[in-house]
């Protein structure tokens, strides 16, 4: 079938779904869902985790077949799409989890499997031609790296750009971005939003899925809200605002937006103190930073500014190459994460599935892991002690799972994050470092995690929160430290908080 004919009038939708229903054993994932996407239209698609977004994406990608309903692409109606059909009609995906070969260079990734070949029986890759084809694509996404860079050497944001360039390379007419900004810092997010606007200007439709509603506010022409597999509502350009979206997503208004209490807090004593600390990533740039008891110190900055690397040093994963670390005034020597844990310094890492929890272990086993000897008699593990600890955390944190013996791999992102938090809360934290704690987590769970951080601070714990989400940094922190190229470029007190100030410091300028 030929989908590439573009002579269709702009008034008919490029894509429309009618009454699509999809059930899985025991679950109705999509229940009579309909929507349409006009050429050049940017649709913001929002919904809590489990609302049916992933199923919708799988149907559009041709990976899953809907039970009933029709999908029309370019005016041709189908009962279902195939992977080839979806690709052939110009539907391209940029997934939240990147699908790049990090051992290959940018050009090889973009045209993987579609490399231009040289004439002759050997069919060698025509590298010159390949570069020629890649260059304009990289320019369109505003890339600041060359086509022969190894993907492993790129930042997460840059890798995202490669994914979008890949989508553009198949002459996409609809680009579906699945949470593209959840891992991007502010400046790069702006760049990505610009790319979306450029796509729109070229007449390419975009479906933009994000939990960051202010980004949706900025680029979407129309917002489609999914709830429990059904269309909860659509918002036209003028009606798009944060509160409306949230209301449709959760079916009620949030009581109030999460805000740190405005009352000035008496700053506690310094808990964790870094003096001229040098990280392996930026050995030439010493860092000075104090985290006080009872405060949430937000750590903002661009991706690659050295925030995660600093956290890794604080947690003993990476060696401290110079300077001194102190905990409550006493010098601190960390040879491994085990040393940090023994001192009550805990890290909720950026990559939950890779480093935060063990997906194959149960909730109870994950929670007891850092403190297993305390759950054992004569070094034999006591299952009842483990279960008791886990039950308490499950109750306190509201972890939604059939039991504490449930495999953590089957939980949603928010609940997995609560397990990570639970394993540290079950011990006695002095310093809690959270690296992007709400990435990829739905709004309800986000608010709960903010509440937990505040409760920790109120209990006298020093909380250090690394975040690339501007709303989050400003809304949750008591003070904000901003990093720029491996160093702290400035620290903002509550009365100086503004997006502009954070951004200025993040790019190495003075705040106003």
């Amino acid at each position: 079938m030929n989908y590439t004919d573009t002579s269709i009038a702009a008034s008919t939708p490029f894509l429309s779904l009618e009454n699509v229903r999809k059930t899985y054993p025991g679950v109705v994932a999509l229940d009579g869902f309909s929507m349409a996407v006009m050429p050049g239209e940017v649709i913001g698609l929002v919904g809590e985790n489990g609302a049916g977004k992933s199923t919708l994406m799988k149907i559009l990608g041709g990976v899953t077949t809907p039970d009933t309903g029709t999908i029309s692409v370019d005016g041709t109606a189908h009962n279902s799409l195939t992977v080839e059909g979806s690709l052939g009609s110009g539907i391209a995906f940029v997934h939240q989890e990147l699908n790049l070969f990090d051992n290959l260079d940018v050009a090889a990734n973009i045209f993987f499997g579609r490399e231009p070949l040289r004439a002759g029986p050997l069919k060698l890759v025509d590298r010159a031609k390949l570069r020629e084809m890649v260059a304009p694509l990289l320019k369109r996404v505003g890339a600041n790296f060359s086509a022969d860079t190894q993907v492993a050497d790129l930042s997460l944001a840059q890798q995202q750009m490669v994914e979008i360039a890949k989508a553009l390379s198949i002459k996409a007419r609809l680009v579906i971005l699945d949470e593209p900004t959840s891992s991007l810092p502010i400046a790069e997010t702006d760049k990505l939003l610009d790319v979306i606007k450029a796509l729109k200007a070229d007449g390419i439709s975009v479906i933009f899925i994000s939990h960051r509603l202010h980004e949706i506010e900025r680029v979407a022409d129309r917002v489609v809200v999914l709830r429990d597999g059904m269309l909860a509502g659509t918002l036209g350009k003028r009606d798009i605002n944060h509160d409306q979206m949230v209301k449709l997503m959760i079916g009620r208004m949030l009581k109030e937006r999460e805000k740190a209490s405005e009352a000035a807090r008496a700053p506690g004593a310094v808990a964790l103190s870094a003096k001229a600390v040098r990280t392996p990533t930026y050995p030439g740039r010493p860092v000075d930073l104090d985290v006080r008891r009872g405060e949430i110190l937000g750590l903002a900055g661009l991706v690659g500014s050295g925030r995660t690397e600093l956290a890794r040093v604080f947690f003993g994963i990476d060696a401290c190459l110079g300077g001194t670390l102190e905990l409550n005034g006493k010098p601190l020597a960390l040879a491994s994460a085990a040393d940090a844990v023994a001192q009550g310094i805990f890290l909720v890492p950026e990559d939950r599935k890779l480093t935060g929890i063990l997906l194959d272990l149960s909730i109870a086993q994950n929670i007891s892991l850092p403190n297993l000897p305390a759950h054992a008699r004569r070094s034999l593990v006591s299952a009842s002690a483990e279960t008791a600890t886990a039950e308490k955390q499950k109750k306190d944190l509201g972890i939604k799972a059939p039991s504490v013996l449930t495999r953590t791999g089957t939980l949603s992102g928010g609940n997995q994050q609560k397990v990570v938090l639970g394993k540290w809360l079950a011990m006695n934290p002095k310093v809690m470092i959270l690296d992007e704690p709400t990435r990829g987590i739905d709004i309800g769970a986000k608010a709960e995690i903010y509440g937990l951080m505040r409760a920790l601070a109120d209990a006298g714990v020093a909380v250090l929160m690394i975040s690339s989400d501007m709303e989050e940094v400003i809304g949750v922190s008591d003070r904000i430290a901003v990093m720029h190229e491996g160093q702290i470029s400035g620290i903002l007190d509550k009365d100086q908080f503004s997006q502009e100030n954070v951004l200025l410091l993040a790019v190495g300028k003075q705040p106003k």
Partner: protein, 331 residues
């Protein structure tokens, strides 16, 4: 006992029954005693291997170590006339040190287990051959060690003492692997070493300890093998034994990626392998086909296990769908 282990046990019994029907000599006390002796010897070796495999590593040098440590043991007691308990302890310590060195190279210098232990395989075989000048290590005529011989090659109530040794070691190691804090750490590291590290586990030490355990159990089995064969030509003694140990673990449900497997599994894997060896002998299959039979059975076993997993997953989904439909109708 998991369903997997139960399946393996049934397979062992079925194969045993078939062999016994075709050749009743299978059930003769002498044959059973011989086979259980070999199960004891290879079982001890395989448990050591299992501890390494559970961390996602591999230990390829155990066959060469059986040759080297066996040669040294016989040399110590027969030529140097050392007291055997001292020689016994010395060999175990040597096994521990070699395991420690392997573990250190792997965890501290970040070398790959395959590479480290492959080099070990070559080195220890070479050293063993050099030590005996490519000769044979054995006992002189009339040399006797009654206590040692009773403990290693002797029998009680008709059952080889090596088999009793395996039972004791299995029970101890079962507790270590399935009930202890250390065992939990091993599984956690095998599943995801990075996440284990981020949970504050000293992963390097735990992995090193696994190689030490493997080294000690290999040394112990080396002594048993030496006392069983009574003379050792280092060029061939213990050859391919690492593969027997790995095969037993794989048959017993261990994943070479780490984090999966049970002690009962590796024992049953050893039993099945030795049963197959015995089968080749008893059914008059040319012994040159020995390895081919073993390889074939392992392949079929792994295939059936994998397909069974797929089948069960599908059945679970169908069941859930049916339940969902019933539930919907009831509403």
């Amino acid at each position: 006992m998991s369903k997997k282990d139960l399946g393996l046990l049934i397979l062992i019994l079925v194969v045993g029954a078939i062999v016994a029907l075709i050749n009743p000599r299978f059930l003769l006390p002498i044959n059973l005693a011989n086979t259980s002796n070999l199960i004891g010897l290879f079982g001890i070796l395989s448990i050591g291997q299992a501890f390494v495999i559970i961390t996602g590593g591999i230990e390829l040098s155990v066959g060469s170590l059986v040759a080297l440590l066996g040669t040294l043991f016989i040399d110590f007691i027969a030529v140097r006339e050392m007291d055997w308990p001292l020689a016994f302890v010395l060999i175990l310590v040597l096994g521990a040190i070699i395991g420690l060195v392997h573990g250190w190279l792997i965890t501290r210098l970040k070398l790959q287990p395959f590479v480290v232990t492959l080099c070990g395989l070559l080195i220890y075989r070479g050293v063993a051959r050099f030590y005996t000048a490519d000769g044979t290590a054995g006992f002189a005529f009339g040399q006797n060690f009654p206590d040692l011989e009773f403990l290693t090659a002797g029998r009680s109530w008709g059952v080889p003492n090596s088999f009793f040794a395996l039972i004791v070691i299995s029970i101890v190691m079962w507790v270590v692997l399935h009930r202890s804090v250390f065992g939990r750490y091993l599984y956690a590291i095998g599943k995801n070493e990075e996440a284990a590290k981020y949970s504050g586990i000293r992963t390097g030490r735990v992995v090193m300890a696994a190689y030490v355990i493997c080294g000690v159990l290999t040394a112990l089995s080396a002594i048993y093998f030496a006392m069983y064969t009574r003379s050792i030509s280092p060029a061939s003694h213990g050859q391919f034994y690492e593969l027997y140990a790995i095969a037993a673990a794989v048959l017993g449900g261990f994943s070479l990626r780490g984090g999966e497997g049970s002690l009962v599994g590796v024992i049953l894997g050893t039993v099945l392998l030795q049963e197959l060896q015995n089968l080749v002998n008893l059914l008059g299959i040319p012994s040159s086909l020995n390895f081919a039979v073993m390889g074939g059975v392992i392949l079929i076993g792994v295939l059936v296990d994998q397909q069974w997993g797929v089948f069960r997953a599908r059945r679970r989904m169908v069941d859930a769908a049916r339940k969902g439909a019933v539930g919907a109708a009831a509403e």
